[in-house]
């Protein structure tokens, strides 16, 4: 069975179905992370004055800054992989998609070192309320990175066969995967100052 409106726009919405679908999903994701950001505000207001800032001093700002730059770069390579398909350059698509995955992997490796350094110093989610919301938010964000890597990995590997049979449909798939990936970057753009800098 063919999936309707993957290339042609649906007349009543003016959108392809997958684009409307991903935006509705991202809206639900805003509420998911929003709930946890709300918990952060709640815990911060409930903690003794200045305690949240003090507990946050344990975090490694240089590593997180590097991770921010890596994630921004991966967003650029992701949008470039889509633009390459638009310009009919499949080789460049593969290059940029590969770079996107590499950046994602780099992000996770740095995050792993950050986590293990904390555990090594006896800091766990139960240490204080700051650490519990820190591990929850960054952990959930990390899961989103892994999810994006699985999808992008499929589109780099066997999923890319579609380019030869249905190039337009495939290009749209990459755009949709990109929207998700940019959202994950966008969440980090807020997580970074809220958790590390304030």
């Amino acid at each position: 069975m063919e999936i309707p409106y993957t290339i042609e726009e649906r007349p009543d919405t003016g959108l392809i179905n997958s684009k409307l679908g991903i935006w509705l999903f991202l809206a639900s994701e805003v509420m998911l992370f929003g709930g946890l950001f709300s918990a952060y505000v709640f815990l911060r207001l409930g903690a003794p004055a200045g305690a949240f800032h003090e507990w946050g001093q344990e975090l490694n700002i240089p590593l997180a800054t590097l991770n921010t730059l890596i994630l921004i770069s991966s967003s650029v390579t992701m949008v470039m992989s889509w633009a390459s398909l638009k310009m009919n350059d499949f080789k460049k698509y593969k290059l940029y998609m590969g770079l996107t995955l590499l950046c994602a992997l780099g992000f996770l490796v740095i995050k792993y070192f950050e986590y293990t350094a904390k555990f090594h110093h006896g800091i766990f989610p139960g240490t204080n309320t700051f650490m519990s919301i820190y591990f929850t938010l960054t952990g959930l964000h990390g899961l989103h990175i892994i999810g994006g890597m699985i999808v992008n990995g499929y589109f780099l590997g066997s999923g890319s066969k579609m380019w030869t049979t249905e190039p337009e449909h495939f290009t749209n798939r990459i755009e949709i995967a990109g929207l998700y990936w940019h959202f994950v970057d966008l969440v980090w753009i807020f997580l970074f100052p809220v958790l590390y800098l304030l």
Binding site: T13, G14, L15, K19, L20, W23, L24, A27, V30, M31, G34, G35, F37, S38, A39, V41, F42, L45, G46, G50, H53, I61, T65, T68, L69, I72, S73, S75, V76, M78, V79, M80, A83, K86, M87, N88, G178, L179, H182, F183, D185, L186, I189, F190, F192, P193, V194, Y196, L197, L198
Partner: protein, 101 residues
């Protein structure tokens, strides 16, 4: 693909590179600002302002919201409204706590 849309994409790519540079610079600015001796209120305001600018850039250009259909804009405005309600709820508990004692 027509010559016209090909040139369109090429000009998009230029914009992506500019946005990338601005995002990188703003990241360094927000880190540098955190080392200044600002009051908590000032620091929160500055950090969230910079993050909002960065977020808007990503959403507008990488996610193409700037040229997207109105339906998506409406969905997101509704989402944003509920998001701010979520952010406001904890402050209610804060004021409530003042009244208990």
């Amino acid at each position: 693909m027509s010559e016209h849309s090909m040139n369109d994409i090429k000009s998009h790519v230029k914009v992506y590179m500019i946005v990338f540079a601005v995002l990188a610079v703003l990241t360094m600015v927000t880190v540098a600002a955190s080392y200044l001796n600002l009051s908590t209120g000032e620091a929160i305001f500055l950090a969230l302002t910079i993050a909002s600018i960065k977020g808007s850039l990503v959403a507008s250009y990488f996610m193409h919201l700037i040229s997207e259909k109105a339906l998506i804009t409406w969905i997101l405005m509704l989402t944003l409204a509920f998001f701010f309600v979520l952010m406001f709820i904890p402050t209610i508990s804060f004021f409530d706590w003042v009244n208990i004692s």
